[in-house]
Symmetry: C2
Subunit: 81 residues, 2 copies
């Protein structure tokens, strides 16, 4: 897809998302688990300084590009007593 | 950052990541939980047809752009018997 949107200073050619995280890795897949009752916030903008966890970097990215990406929040149910 | 890489037909201006998912939503945040023993694969390339879950769309994206993004796999420990 090609949709120049000069107003927002960004071209929407198909372009890379990740320009920071493990660039030498052919595919960055994260495998993890959460204990019962545990909560984690995961980055989906690939700009976080604490990747794979979110550090709020998506806000700066969205402002610079007019994007609307946000994190994935996993909060596991507490173990039933 | 501006790093034209004409060889891969993509410009690396700061550009949007999400061109498909809930475009009318100012910020797409996903909140979910997994039961003990449950496993889910979450999309981080914003191209999946089954967003927020991964459908493998990152492979086509990586090929088209030279990117290296992959999914987030959460597999919760099974409840101890």
């Amino acid at each position: 897809f090609f949709k120049p949107s000069v107003g927002r200073r960004s071209l929407e050619l198909a372009s890379k998302i990740n320009t920071k995280v493990e660039l030498e890795n052919p595919k960055v897949v994260t495998m993890t688990q959460l204990a019962p009752g545990e909560k984690k916030v995961f980055c989906r903008c690939w700009q976080s300084g604490t990747f794979p966890l979110c550090d709020g970097a998506h806000m700066k990215h969205n402002e610079a590009t007019g994007d609307n990406v946000g994190p994935l929040i996993i909060s596991n149910p507490k173990p039933s007593k």
